[in-house]
Symmetry: C2
Subunit: 226 residues, 2 copies
């Protein structure tokens, strides 16, 4: 792939709280400011989670709306990607913000283990989130925590449950899911190219794997998440 | 690998009921008879599920005990493998038969999607089942529904949660999990050999994938499940 490098910034992941790290932005205005700083530094996609007043992950569409508006005002042209990840809600709650019509939203298409629990993405919910993204013209970023998630996304594209070229993020380094493994990283790319030749991909290494995965990603012409 | 071919027979999978197919054996004595027939035909491992009186999958240790005794009496030398799969119970119930000390038991080490639901194998349950298998000297057959399951099993072996050479079954063809894909099949073998050079593997294709996966397996020197 010869795309210009897209730098994707994850503003406030779903795990850390300010108790863990006081520098992690939590209020909407703090999030907007730190996204703005990343934008000026060259980031072009903002991957967004929101928190409730107690600092806990939530899917509250009203908070997502304020964050989205703020980023659009401060960072013209930045791609806003809202998370439909499972830490912030259960069932269809997870897609309640899709009617805001963000540029992109994350979409997990399979289930896997996380450090202490099962990350549950039941087939009916996956299909519902995908159909909501079509309805509201939201481009999904497929979150691939395992190889079958990549394969499954290509099938969903083939049968029309996902539209347009796939955009897949390889996630490595989450405990009990796929670790950072270079040979597997290359096989992810090979499999995606084989089954969906028009797809694009990016990669995220979690925790200590972050820099390593970024290096692999840059050297293979993918996008990175910082 | 140059092992003699092991044929593994799955007597009564966890899904079909007699309503679907009257030829599927369900009572313990029917199961013993059909295992015996497979044994005479050359099968060397019996992968066993049991049913309750209504024909529903169960983990009832008393039923597993009767099945195990019957197979041992009718099929001397046959390896008895009891299922700890998630269709037959919830939580630690799934391992209640391990104290019977069967030769082998199935062990899922990760979670994934099944046709209509999440196949849940939370990390704490996986570790508990593995420790019970060590306690009762039961050899696990790792059920790999995705690539990270293979990788995770090699980590569990490396840190002592699994003892001795791994025995891994690649499962392909379950809807919403990994489909039958020959390039991925070969990558499964490559990854297992790379991360656990002393491991053995077998493969099961589910539904229409069964014969295809058996052929791949035989041509690569693995074991098959019929
Ligand atoms: Zn990205
Ligand atoms: Zn996220
Ligand atoms: Zn087998
Ligand atoms: Zn089974």
């Amino acid at each position: 792939m010869t795309n210009p490098c897209i730098i994707c910034v994850a503003i406030t992941g779903s795990v850390p709280t300010q108790a863990d790290n006081p520098a992690v932005p939590v209020t909407i205005s703090e999030q907007i400011e730190s996204t703005h700083a990343a934008f000026e530094a060259g980031a072009s996609i903002a991957h967004c989670h929101v928190r409730d007043d107690a600092g806990k992950p939530t899917s509250d569409p009203e908070r997502f709306a304020r964050l989205k508006e703020g980023i659009e005002a401060h960072c013209p042209g930045m791609i806003v990607q809202l998370s439909t990840g499972g830490r912030s809600g259960a069932g269809e709650e997870r897609g309640g913000m899709l009617s805001l019509r963000p540029d992109m939203a994350s979409l997990s298409v399979g289930s896997n283990n996380f450090p202490t629990r099962v990350y549950e993405n039941p087939p009916a919910l996956v299909d519902w989130l995908a159909s909501e993204m079509i309805t509201h013209d939201v481009k999904p970023e497929i979150e691939a925590f395992d190889l079958s998630h990549i394969v499954h996304a290509t099938r969903m594209q083939a049968d029309g449950r996902l539209k347009g070229p796939l955009y897949v993020q390889f996630v490595m380094g989450v405990k009990n899911a796929m670790p950072a493994d270079e040979r597997i990283f290359d096989f992810y790319i090979e499999t995606l190219n084989r089954l969906a030749p028009d797809a694009q991909w990016c990669a995220a290494g979690i925790g200590p794997a972050q820099l390593t995965v970024n290096e692999w990603s840059i050297s293979r012409g993918g996008h990175t998440r910082a």
